[in-house]
């Protein structure tokens, strides 16, 4: 039962204005707040990694969505990997590591039962918010429960160098399907092809993108894992085969949109495709699959990561003060791999 000697404080990033379009520095404020004393069962956590994820853009907005927005003045929410620095919980000793949801701040006091203990010997602790965490599970559940790729089928995913997309492609391959990855820029395309084992990787910024997509999918598309939307999504949907499936897990390309995208396809055209091709479009949030599939995920994905079937990339930005800028980059595709902010030292790194 270790304790820290003095009253702790937390450095926090708070949402003070709802962003219009791209989030601006002035939409946030950095504060330093005293932390409360620990009650029985509480832990004091030091943030090692803050996970930055596209869903956070929705939480900054007060448009109706699947989750309540962050209140103005509140600390931005987010998953974190933390070290326990003070504990009044037997199962979370000081020096242990946990997955928590303490948001954009350096320290926090929370009930230990709101955390999940991590074993640094099994996998790097950062993977708990990446390939072995929510992004990995989003890929696993959405692809296998909705996409249901069959051996020999073609699976297409965009933002393929991101944590969800890269897992989608590699799980598809593990299931015997062909994986076509779409990403922005030569570096990402090379990563997909050379390191992550995609069958084909194409650059959506290429002027002949539509032709490349056609060449990459000579037998059409059976599963399109939709996590970007925009013009890329429209191009892929045009290539769908009869009975194709489209799990919809994100629409990053349109998240910052303040007005309808010029030239966006009208819904009746999309519905006509759905009808003539007997397509399935299914929106989902990973939560709905947790009860039935999370244990399978940890087992399967743990094994795939361990034996190299599924590889992952991380993009680590140092310092909480860089979180807002890093988040902007996430929405425009600046990062390669899972985007993390290293808020404090990671003592588990060799």
């Amino acid at each position: 039962m270790g304790t820290v000697g003095s009253m702790s404080t937390s450095t926090q990033i708070r949402l003070v204005r709802r962003p219009v379009g791209e989030p601006a520095d002035s939409d946030f404020e950095t504060t330093t707040s005293d932390l409360p004393e620990l009650a029985e069962g509480d832990v004091l956590l030091r943030t090692v990694y803050l996970s930055l994820d596209p869903y956070m853009r929705g939480r900054m907005s007060d448009a109706k969505s699947y989750a309540a927005p962050v209140e103005l003045g509140d600390v931005m929410v987010g998953s974190t990997v933390c070290e326990v620095v003070e504990s009044r919980s037997e199962n979370r000793p000081v020096g242990s590591y946990v997955l928590a949801f303490t948001g954009w701040q350096s320290h926090a006091v929370v009930p230990a039962r709101q955390t999940r203990r991590l074993d640094p010997a099994t996998a790097p602790i950062s993977t708990a918010v990446g390939v072995l965490g929510m992004p990995g599970f989003t890929a696993y559940a959405g692809l296998l429960q909705i996409g249901r790729p069959q051996p020999g089928e073609t699976v297409v995913v965009a933002a393929a160098a991101g944590p969800v997309g890269s897992a989608v492609g590699q799980i598809a391959r593990a299931k015997g399907a062909r994986a076509v990855g779409i990403a922005g820029g030569a570096d990402k395309v090379a990563l997909l092809r050379d390191e992550l084992g995609f069958d084909v990787a194409i650059d959506h910024r290429a002027p002949d993108f539509a032709d490349q997509l056609k060449a990459a999918t000579p037998d059409g598309v059976d599963v399109y894992f939709e996590n970007v939307a925009g013009t890329v999504g429209e191009a892929v949907v045009r290539r769908m085969n009869t009975y194709g499936r489209i799990p919809v897990c994100g629409l990053v390309a349109d998240y910052n949109a303040t007005e309808p995208r010029e030239g966006a396809e009208p819904a009746p055209d999309l519905l006509r495709r759905v009808l003539t091709k007997s397509l399935t479009i299914r929106g989902f949030i990973q939560d709905e699959f947790v009860a039935d599939h999370y244990a399978d995920f940890l087992r399967d994905m743990g094994a795939w990561v361990a034996d190299g079937t599924v590889r992952y990339r991380e993009d680590v930005v140092d310092g909480l003060e860089n979180a807002v800028d890093a988040f902007r980059g996430l929405l425009t595709g600046r990062n390669v791999g899972k985007l993390l902010v290293r808020v404090g030292d990671d003592p588990t790194l060799g």
Copy 2:
């Protein structure tokens, strides 16, 4: 083995031009053609009823769809209920009735194996192209296999006075769900409410349609059986509950469209709804369910029709020469119930 004494001819309606927008009289031509001699296994059929169905609009067009277009100069396709007037098939004696696919014409010679024999004692022969035929099966399969209504859920269907819509609502009720029907005009609304047992019926032409829809669905919408699209469809989709299901079986409101509908919702808005509500949109053609579910359909629907659980309405237009005009009316909602052309006498009618 009856025979007709003389060489027979058939009066036929042929497609001679691809309609632009609403089909015009000049897009068709009426011809009289000699019929071939019967080969072994053939039957000579006299058309009693021609079924008019929305999918025919697609066949008139050469836009890519799920079925090949009718070639210019060919007889318009369509399901028919026919009397056998000459036969070289043991199982289709003269005077028996069959379901066939002989199209917009008065007579035809076809192999008997391309017909299904009907029993006039079990149900009126006209139901073979209606409630106990393709439209009924479309409702049954789409609602139960994709919509999957649960007891207490709210099911909404438009074109609810039509053969598919009216079956959807009544099957939903049989499964313990609440059925909300949308139709155009006071007559149809009264039919839904007073004869077909819908819980609520509303008129999409009412100036306060959106308010009426809201009042009719206080708990939101769990299943929207999409067979019209247009502004009505958009209004219903806005009321969908989380995990709502949208079987898409038709888009009649947009079938005649020659250019994008003014004010149609952009696809990104629809996808945002799909994502935030975890909706399922699934296009289908009834064919895909035939192998697994047609026998169940004949059993269930036969029983429901026999005991009055499912009622049906027919709108019978006399004379093949009125088929084109009747078909125009189908696309604009002029008919009430299943639209049939009585091409020749129905001797089974009391």
